[in-house]
């Protein structure tokens, strides 16, 4: 873990209090995003997002599956995050598992909505092929290659970028003669169905250090946090999911305040990401 001296700790706290953080940012400033798409060619969609020294890769693979009996009209999405030991030696062996599952669940909460799938950031009904029989299962795999704080926001941004980069093969379905037959699905070679990502939210994590909260905390800043609230917000400013982490309690009014700040920050973030996506796509085409 990060070992900090008392002086360093005070420096961090003091900087945040005066709205001038160690790396020169203001409290609500993100580090510059660096976005690449299509980094994993054999996936249906992929993206690499770097946020300072934080570096994550997200890949999306689509597989044919069967919808669950509760939601016959929706496809399924599963999110897995793996923290590579390259990011920190502590992740060696099973060391990264706890953080990996924490991140996976937080992301699922932010993107997939409740048990019914209602309110999901990803439109699950667009994944259905034949109701009750065949659907697409999306596997979203995140890999943390390098870690310098704010993994959740980085992963969420990478998922959004990867989704916008995802092409799903077009399928022709041959329904069997009787309704009990498993339909024949013929996957076409070329035609890709572009995934609609306009509703996909971003995640903004506000980290409370001392009396103030900051966005995009570095590893060192995170070590000083008392609690953090991650809010996922879509383009229309709707909140799609929320997670509070950290031990200290928060005053409800502070939480509401944090949410409205997050909402505000998120709109900036979305436009930054959109332009990065456009730039990355243009790059990839070349």
């Amino acid at each position: 873990m990060v070992g900090l001296s008392t002086g360093e700790k005070r420096f961090i706290h003091g900087g945040i209090a005066q709205d001038l953080r160690s790396d020169g940012r203001k409290r609500l400033h993100f580090r510059p995003f660096c976005v690449e798409t299509g980094v994993i060619p054999q996936a249906n969609g992929s993206a690499r997002v770097r946020l300072g020294a934080t570096d994550v890769i997200v890949s999306i693979k689509a597989e044919l599956g069967k919808p669950s009996s509760f939601q016959p009209d929706k496809g399924k999405v599963a999110i897995f995050v793996d923290c590579s030991p390259t990011a920190a030696p502590e992740f060696e062996g099973r060391g990264g598992e706890e953080l990996s599952s924490e991140l996976s669940f937080a992301l699922e909460r932010c993107f997939l909505g409740g048990k019914t799938g209602a309110g999901a950031g990803i439109d699950l009904s667009s994944l259905i092929i034949v109701e009750g029989k065949v659907c697409w299962d999306l596997y979203i795999d995140g890999l943390v290659v390098s870690s310098d704080g704010n993994l959740l926001d980085a992963l969420a941004a990478a998922i959004k970028v990867a989704l916008s980069n995802t092409g799903i093969p077009k399928v022709n379905v041959d329904l069997g003669p009787s309704p009990d037959d498993q339909p024949e699905v013929d996957v076409s070679d070329e035609e890709f169905l572009q995934f609609d990502t306009s509703g996909v939210p971003v995640v903004v994590t506000l980290t409370k250090v001392g009396r103030h909260y900051i966005v995009d905390a570095t590893l060192e800043e995170e070590s000083q946090m008392s609690s953090a609230v991650s809010v996922s917000v879509n383009r229309h400013g709707h909140i799609c999911g929320l997670t509070k982490r950290g031990g200290a309690g928060l005053d409800p009014s502070v939480i509401l305040d944090m949410i409205s700040v997050a909402k505000h920050v998120s709109q900036n973030l979305i436009s930054v990401l959109d332009s990065e996506i456009a730039a990355a796509e243009a790059n990839a085409k070349e």
Partner: protein, 934 residues
Amino acid sequence: MLQSKSFVKKTKQGRVVKVVREHYLRDDIYCGALSCKVCDTSAARLTSSASTILIVDTNVVLHQIDLLENPAIDDVVVLSVVLEEVRNKNLSVYNRVKALCTNSLRKFFVFSNEHHRDTYVKEMVGESPNDRNDRAIRVAARWYQSHLGGSTQVLLITNDRENKRKAIEEGLSAETVESYVKSLGQPNLLDLVSLPTSEDVGMEEVEDLRPSKRKVIYNEHKPMSEITSGLLRGIYHQGKLRVNRYNPFEAYVGSESIGDEIVIHGRANMNRAFDGDIVAVELLPQDQWHEEKSSIIADDEDDEEEDVHLVPSSADDAPRNTNLVQPAAASTASTSSRPAGRVVGIIKRNWHSYCGSLEPMPMPAGNGGIAHALFVSKDRRFPKIRIQTRQLENLLDKRIVVAVDSWDCLSRYPSGHYVRTIGKIGDRDTESEVLLIENDINSRPFSAQVLACLPHLPWTLSSEVLANPNRQDLRHLRVFSVDPPGCKDIDDALHCTSLPNGNFEVGVHIADVTNFVLPGTPLDEEASQRGTSVYLVERRIDMLPKPLTEDICSLRSDVERLAFSVIWEMTSEAEIISTRYTKSVIKSCAALSYVEAQARMDDSRLMDSLTTDLRNLNSLAKVMRHRRIERGALTLASAEVKFQIDTETHDPLDIGMYQIREANQMIEEFMLAANVSVAEKILKHFPLCSLLRRHPTPTKEMLEPLLRTAAAIGLDLDISSSKALADSLDHAVGDDPYFNKLIRILATRCMTQAVYFCSGDLSPSEYHHYGLAAPLYTHFTSPIRRYADVIVHRLLAAALGIAKLPPIFMDGLQLTSIADNLNYRHRNAQMASRASVELHTLIYFRKRPTDTEARIVKIKSNGFIVFIPKFGIEGPVYLMPRGDKGGDWVVDEVHQKVMRTGTNISYGILQTVRIHMEVVEPQPNRPKLELTLT
């Protein structure tokens, strides 16, 4: 030099997997023209002076391969995109074009356009793979044109109208196959051009074939997607179609999905499928499963009749037991027996080229000399093929080769094109070649690479060979060989020494072929492909080159030869006390013929040591033979005939039964024993990869015809085991001396042949050899003429630890495929031998009408089949003119008799009749042997 470019490919292996492969583009791929100033010309193949080079598209290669193989077509560039498509569509055409591209006499060059920096094209959005490939071909053609400059014309040959139009728009020269061939000014080449299908550019001068008669004759084949889903749902069944050799209107599809053979009756149900095609079959409703009567056959316009042929030596040679005279009761009973079906689609065609002749027809008037003719394949399993030719007059009396191009449902017959002429019908050389082609026998001389593997001649025993501790020097032994007269490829020899303890040491010495044929060499590959030597009446097609078969390996007398020996110590009761195996050096003291050996044994005045050895061996062999028969080995009989051939004209002078002597049986006995000993040894060491030979127990169904015949004459045969059958065959003694042999011949033809297999593929209980009543058997004793023995020699050497097992044995699949090939080659070699004998029989009787005695072996509704023991042939005798069914002859099924109503004239099974044999020519150039009652 390397440029990387990834492209995306998706496969569906149950799951959706996105596959990404690298694709490197290069700048070091050369154009292959000798005149090129820019490229490296060391591997160039195109003529420097060529004014025109041809670029062909995929369909041209696929359909016009016969034309491309003609030396008139040269300076051809085959693009890798074309090659790849051809490989995916038709492997046999691919192999042929590959052979063209490697043949140093031809100027075919392969250009890797897919990996060339300037000719690689990426699939555009919405472009089909076909369009993309056509575009790739045009891009490559354009590259050639600009690369070679104005001195050389680049001509794109395509029959695809769209592709041709685009090419011309893009400034390329493009022509159809027909117009290009015409421009060459060799009209006969046009016969080789395959007819275009409807989507392609039509040949202007060809009008629709008999438009008034065009009606739908066959059902449309189902589209592939429907077939796949039908197979999946179990509505359709997939399998290889096998047409009955003796009744081309009946076929069988072995289906794994229903675990049985599906019978297909009639051409309409076969729906344009050829023998060997992989088809999808739909079962007919069960009430239509009855075997269709033979009379159905006559409804079709081909009228089939049986020809005189050699007596079958096993069930594989004989017609399926379709009972032509079926009692009413039996036909209702058989309704449910065998599933019947019809072909709904063809999954993979097995079209190749066929040997035969044109159906006689008058010369058509006018029409620019183009005639539409019907080709009749010699192999009756294939339908007639419609071809067009400009040399009809020339071809009518010839054996020709024809390839099939298409068969649409409007046409009764498939269409094809002429490939080449073999020679005049009836001519011995022509017909011999036909039978070689028909049986897929490679009779070409051995290639230079193969001959390069031979040791230098004259071969002599070197001191290194003698110094090898694994090779025992047995030159001191009195070894001799016994073979048919004039045998040059002697692969076995024997010795027999009396031991002081009263026992005998008996050695079987087999030519050490594997000392010269090393695994993996071109020589070995060739031998493995050929599988066996083929014996025709007038010639022999060797598996190995002559210097090996007749000299270096042949265990001739008075020369030192390498051998692989099996040596037993036996008691005088022929009990084997010990067996050892060794590589050896021997020096045979005599190469005897069967007649000589027999004469020596019979001449009581001779007391020399060699004769004593022979007598000792003979008495041992008798004991062994007796014991084998006790065990239940069948003494089966086949009617082998022998020709006396005129040394000048190679025409047969005399024909007669081959006489089997005691000496033959003696040699046979020791060879069997050696094979069994070796089989035990190799299986012990290599339980999973030994090559063995098995003879499946005949099923009751297979023995049915024998039992029916026996029952008709009041003979009771017990078929519960081979022992029981052997005993009851022994007891089947009639009033005439030939009766027993006749029954044995009938029994033999009910059995299938023994086959090679890989021991890992079956369970030990299936290894059994029924005919020899041996639990294990293999072939070890004839490595000069059988490749199976070569493999067994290698296994034995490895089992003894004197050689390493070649890597091929580690690969079960490969070993299985070798065994399959050997079975296929053996079967073909036998078919060819039989066909050769039949051919010579015909030639013999051409000038010699003969009266002789024959035995009735099968009763038919309009006559009976007779067997002529003297000449080993059988054929039909008709009691009424053909086509005149019903008549006044009545068949008595129970007693196997045919009687003339109102008289007491009748013919029963096994009855002796006098017949007249004469060669007649009902149609010009179609001689056949006819049998009539005298």
